[in-house]
């Protein structure tokens, strides 16, 4: 099967064929036609993202283990965790919503972090096995459905709604969720899939990522 050198890309939003120039750190290559960001100069992306993903994993576990908030009214107290909300929705018959909250607030972020970390660790010694490519694709899907930042805002809104009815004390879990929002944003910003793909073993049986001949033109560089 014929393929092109990887410094040539087709813009995902408008299909224009373009060559990505060598980028300085912090530089971004944008599509000349539609302005879509095509690549960014992120030197040391793998090391930095590995550290951020490891930190995110720890904070994610904390956020799920610790109570989000405690509430007292009528001489009684209630408390909840992230999964406590899921359990209560299930108990009250809102099964579909309960499953969705579990998916968007726990499963998707957890798998996003875990898969990203696994991909990065495996990519340290190229050529990485083919499952690394599969995992990278799944990490992207889970990232799309991970809604920790939306949940954080949802918890804050519910705090305001509740504050008029009862006394609210924020718990350690709430601070962990706040930290997780920042860590996930930093992890996504520092991650560069273009750094990982060249290290993955090819599906078509070529054992090693092949080296490309210098291509003359965009469409002419095929081999």
């Amino acid at each position: 099967m014929a393929y092109l050198p990887t410094d040539i890309v087709a813009c995902p939003d408008c299909d224009l064929l373009e060559r990505i120039p060598p980028l300085p750190p912090g530089g971004t290559a944008r599509c000349a036609r539609c302005g879509r960001a095509l690549a960014a100069g992120k030197p040391g992306s793998i090391d930095r993202t590995t550290a951020l993903a490891a930190a995110a994993l720890i904070v994610f576990l904390l956020a799920n283990a610790e109570p989000l908030m405690e509430l007292s009214a009528a001489g009684r107290e209630t408390t909840t965790t992230i999964l406590g909300g899921v359990r209560e929705m299930w108990r009250q018959g809102e099964r579909a919503s309960s499953v969705l909250v579990a998916l968007f607030a726990v499963a998707a972020p957890g798998l996003h972090i875990g898969f990203t970390l696994a991909v990065l660790l495996a990519a340290r010694r190229p050529p990485a096995p083919r499952w690394v490519g599969d995992m990278l694709r799944w990490a992207e899907v889970y990232g799309l459905w991970s809604m920790v930042e939306v949940m954080m805002l949802g918890i804050l809104v519910s705090l305001v709604k509740i504050a008029s009815l009862a006394a609210v004390t924020p718990g350690a879990g709430l601070y962990a969720v706040g930290a997780l929002v920042f860590l996930l944003a930093a992890m996504s910003a520092s991650f560069d899939p273009r750094e990982v793909w060249p290290r993955v073993r090819w599906r078509n049986g070529a054992g090693q990522p092949p080296s490309f001949p210098e291509a003359a033109g965009a469409a002419g560089g095929e081999r």
């Binding site: 299909d15 036609r33 302005g35 209560e88 009250q92 949802g154 918890i155 599906r203």
Partner: protein, 213 residues
């Protein structure tokens, strides 16, 4: 030069949707798969326009019950008071937090409606092979892909209010039937934005690089 810019489709080169590698599909009937990652190759997302329309219509149908059915019911010894999404916004506003009230209003009403309207507009202009304001339309598409997730806000609000206000029989809150419809709207619009292919905007012309020819 005829003025036609080199695109993947014109050059007969498919861009892998998963890893971005450019390769020549095996044949016209069977495009084959990406030699690097194994993803099936295609020049454009399959049945993008029909699938996006179907999802937009399904989301629009769910939008009505999502906004008219209660999302929460507050139960006290004396009363049981259901409230809709809009009711929740009004409550927040009356409680003095107009910032949060407008955030919930934007996330729950403005974003889903705007997203449905914007997708319908993109689908209609692609159908008429507009070729005008391509850059703006592409930007609109990128915007609606990033903001869509925030509509899930009210589902999380309902979940954590219900999880905490459990002082039966004096005061408790139960989730209402509006919640699953609301979640359905959000999920369907996310799938709809994913099903659309922004490259269709450019396929009908409007060749300019940035400014004008």
């Amino acid at each position: 030069m005829t003025g036609a810019l080199p695109t993947g489709a014109r050059a007969g080169i498919a861009s892998c949707a998963a890893c971005g590698l450019l390769s020549r599909p095996a044949g016209p009937g069977n495009a084959g798969s990406c030699p690097r990652c194994g993803e099936p190759l295609a020049f454009r997302r399959r049945d993008a326009v029909q699938r996006t329309w179907a999802l937009v219509i399904a989301a629009a149908i769910c939008y009505l019950p999502a906004n008219t059915l209660p999302v929460m019911t507050t139960i006290t010894l004396k009363s049981s008071e259901p409230s809709t999404i809009i009711g929740g916004v009004v409550d927040l506003y009356e409680a003095g937090s107009w910032v949060l009230a407008s955030i919930v209003l934007i996330a729950s009403v403005v974003i889903p409606l705007g997203k449905l309207g914007a997708l319908a507009y993109l689908l209609a202009t692609v159908r008429h092979r507009s070729g005008r304001r391509n850059r703006e339309r592409t930007r609109l598409y990128r915007l609606l892909k990033t903001v869509g997730r925030w509509s899930m806000l009210d589902v999380f609000v309902a979940t954590y209010v219900v999880a905490l206000i459990r002082f039966q029989p004096f005061l408790s809150v139960t989730p209402g039937p509006g919640v699953p419809f609301f979640a359905a709207v959000v999920i369907l619009t996310i799938f709809a934005a994913d099903a659309f292919d922004p490259r269709l905007i450019w396929d009908s012309g409007g060749e300019t690089r940035g400014e004008d020819d």
